[in-house]
């Protein structure tokens, strides 16, 4: 593992509070994930890939934005691993990089129709840009 | 005081109790010492007031063996000591008629007693009846109680050492602290027992007083109700209660809040444990080294 990868891995583990070594690779998270089919990488892969330092690969995938944040995997994980927290942390890490914004403020406004609740707009602001 | 005295007299008269354990008036207003009264005439000398600081629980250990019931008057904090003695089977509940006496804080010639400045409250842990007409004017001082202990904890080890060296070097081994302590009820103290290997009549080495006070504090740990009698009676004015309070503070912090004399004869912090207890190394992580 090179320096950068090690740093990224440690950061992800620190800010997510997840210990991937607790995982017993049962696949419960991916069995329960409601948006499994849309995501390029699946919850159990996040755990295993972070442990193996495949951080960049995950950060460059659409999967970090397709997680619904519903915490079903967090709640149901029998090993207290909480894969969803890893996904969230990776999305954060991506934002913190230079040019890490997924969408600008204007893009977000443009996507919204008049019925979109404020909460959702605010959430998008938080999730997609610095 | 009048109510208590009247009640005591009537209990003596109707034969409910054979004697009264209380206080008698001495030479001056502050001189108010424990005394035993067996009839109405003797009861003339009975007093209860702001100078009745002495905790009568300890006297109950001996008194419990006497024929018939003894009336004992206990202040709220004294009842903790009595109850602890009950837990340890050192007194029989049936041998006593307990009047819980309201207390507004006790004084001596130097003002409010140290134990009253850190009053533990107005509740009675054990009683037959309560005679408590005056409102307690003292704030219960639980928050302030550990103030001095904390001050010591925040000193450097060298400062602490100097402090205790200064204090303990004055000890004359008069055993007043031991004799008054309601938790020190051993039939024979280890320090008096030739078989114990630590017996000492006169100090042979410099160390023996330290050993005495450390071991005494340790032996009463978890059983000491913090009644403060040890410091009150020390002729040298050594703040011995600060040693006991340190142990109480540690036990509360590490093993959960505990007050000796309350509860239903549960185990003390030193006769119980949890699997998750702190390791002894924790003391190295706290305060000044």
């Amino acid at each position: 593992m090179d320096q950068n990868t090690r740093f990224l891995t440690e950061t992800v583990l620190r800010i997510s509070g997840v210990d991937p070594r607790k995982c017993m690779k049962c696949g419960k998270c991916s069995g329960t994930c409601p948006n499994y089919d849309a995501m390029e990488y699946h919850p159990h892969q996040f755990v295993s890939m972070v442990e193996n330092g495949l951080i960049e690969q995950l950060m460059n995938s659409n999967a970090v934005y397709l997680c619904l944040g519903c915490m079903a995997c967090v709640e149901r994980c029998p090993r207290h691993v909480a894969p969803g927290k890893l996904v969230g942390a990776l999305a954060q890490l991506k934002l913190r990089k230079q040019d890490g914004n997924h969408k600008g403020g204007n893009d977000i406004a443009a996507m919204a129709d008049e019925k979109v609740p404020q909460q959702l707009l605010m959430a998008a602001m938080r999730k997609y840009r610095k | 005081m009048k109510k208590i005295k009247a009640r005591a007299l009537s209990l003596l008269a109707d034969g409910t109790v054979k004697r009264v354990l209380g206080w008698e008036r001495g030479e001056d207003a502050f001189d108010c010492s424990p005394a035993l009264f067996e009839n109405e005439a003797e009861m003339e000398r009975f007093v209860y007031g702001t100078c009745a600081g002495a905790n009568l629980s300890k006297y109950c250990v001996k008194m419990g063996k006497a024929e018939g019931k003894t009336l004992v008057i206990l202040k709220p904090c004294d009842t903790l000591s009595f109850r602890q003695l009950l837990h340890e089977h050192r007194v029989e509940r049936d041998a006593f008629y307990i009047i819980g006496a309201g207390c507004t804080g006790m004084m001596d010639e130097n003002g409010l007693l140290a134990k009253c400045a850190a009053c533990k409250g107005k509740e009675f842990a054990v009683y037959d009846e309560i005679i408590d007409t005056e409102e307690c004017r003292l704030p219960t001082g639980t928050e302030k109680r550990m103030e001095q202990v904390e001050k010591l904890e925040n000193m450097t080890a060298q400062e602490r050492f100097a402090f205790w060296q200064g204090e303990l070097s004055r000890c004359i081994r008069c055993n007043a602290c031991r004799n008054v302590c309601p938790a020190c009820t051993c039939i024979k103290c280890v320090f008096d027992n030739p078989g114990s290997g630590v017996q000492s009549k006169a100090p042979v080495t410099d160390f023996e007083e330290n050993m005495f006070h450390i071991i005494r504090a340790y032996h009463v740990a978890g059983r000491c109700t913090d009644c403060g009698e040890c410091s009150r009676v020390c002729p040298q004015g050594i703040p011995l209660h600060l040693i006991n309070r340190k142990l109480i503070k540690d036990m509360n912090e590490l093993y959960g809040d505990y007050q000796a004399g309350l509860g239903d004869n549960e185990r003390t912090p030193l006769t119980s444990f949890t699997k998750e207890d702190a390791e002894p190394g924790i003391i190295h992580e706290r305060g000044n080294g």
Binding site: G17, N35, Y65, G69, C70, G88, V116, Q119, M122, R126 | -
Partner: protein, 260 residues
């Protein structure tokens, strides 16, 4: 009883009914909801990173500005963020210190406020049996399903709202109003709202699963406590459709204060 009340930004705009009917119902039930004098957005999402202090500051401010013992929330999302932030405040000393340093409050927040959802208030303070007695227009004959979504229930250790896998609070609420609650398996799954803007198809998949499950179980209408679910269940429905109402509207209706 007086409770501090945190409405949240959405309730001032797109989800006015949720707020309106809540106030009307509360008044009818003798509960005083005292809106915080000062509040900002709750932060909208609970941050994914434990070192993200800033996103939680406005929630802390709301907690600091709470005058009563309990802070009542109506919107699932606000409830989620406020309750979790409050939990962090009690559990996480680093967060506490850093947030206090940021905010420099005159009086430090002591963590004593309890964040409660209006539904919890109805269940724990009024009681559903009592509520039943106050119903003026029982909603007899209506088959209503509750859509809990994710934000109210998870993580269950922090929110401790109801059994996360088999919740019953909204069913009991519906029953108290005289209607027939219909329980269905997908009531505690996600509506997908958070990705609605990123990928509408994903959101539609979730909505369809939920509605399909509700219809199969015999629901004729749905209630929710969440503006996000409301938006999504209505706007992103594809095959199946059901009328969706805020739970407060249903309450106002049963208490006879809807038109007021």
């Amino acid at each position: 009883m007086i409770y501090s009340y945190y409405p949240g930004c959405t309730l001032k705009d797109r989800a006015r009914q949720l707020d309106l009917y809540a106030r009307a119902s509360a008044a009818a039930l003798g509960l005083e909801l005292k809106e915080l004098t000062q509040w900002q957005c709750c932060g909208a999402v609970y941050p994914a990173a434990s070192d993200d202090i800033a996103s939680r500051l406005s929630a802390v401010r709301a907690l600091m500005n709470t005058e009563e013992k309990k802070l009542v929330t109506m919107c699932s999302a606000c409830h989620h963020v406020l309750k979790r932030t409050n939990f962090d405040w009690k559990q996480d000393a680093t967060f506490r210190t850093r947030a206090t340093n940021y905010l420099q409050p005159e009086v430090p927040y002591d963590g004593s406020v309890e964040v409660v959802h209006f539904l919890e208030l109805l269940r724990d303070e009024i009681g559903f049996d009592e509520l039943k007695k106050k119903v003026v227009n029982p909603l007899t004959g209506r088959k209503i399903g509750a859509f809990y979504g994710c934000l109210l229930l998870r993580p269950s250790k922090v929110l401790s709202f109801d059994d996360p896998e088999n919740p019953t609070i909204m069913e009991n609420f519906i029953r108290a109003l005289g209607a027939e609650p219909v329980s269905y398996p997908y009531r505690n799954e996600c509506c997908g709202a958070y990705v609605a803007m990123e990928d509408q198809k994903s959101a539609q998949t979730q909505v369809e699963r939920a509605l399909n499950s509700a219809v199969a179980a015999g629901c004729e209408e749905l209630i929710t406590a969440c503006p996000l679910c409301m938006y999504n269940l209505v706007e992103n429905a594809t095959v199946h459709r059901l009328p969706v109402k805020y739970f407060t509207e249903l309450l106002a209706e049963a208490l006879g204060v809807k038109e007021a």
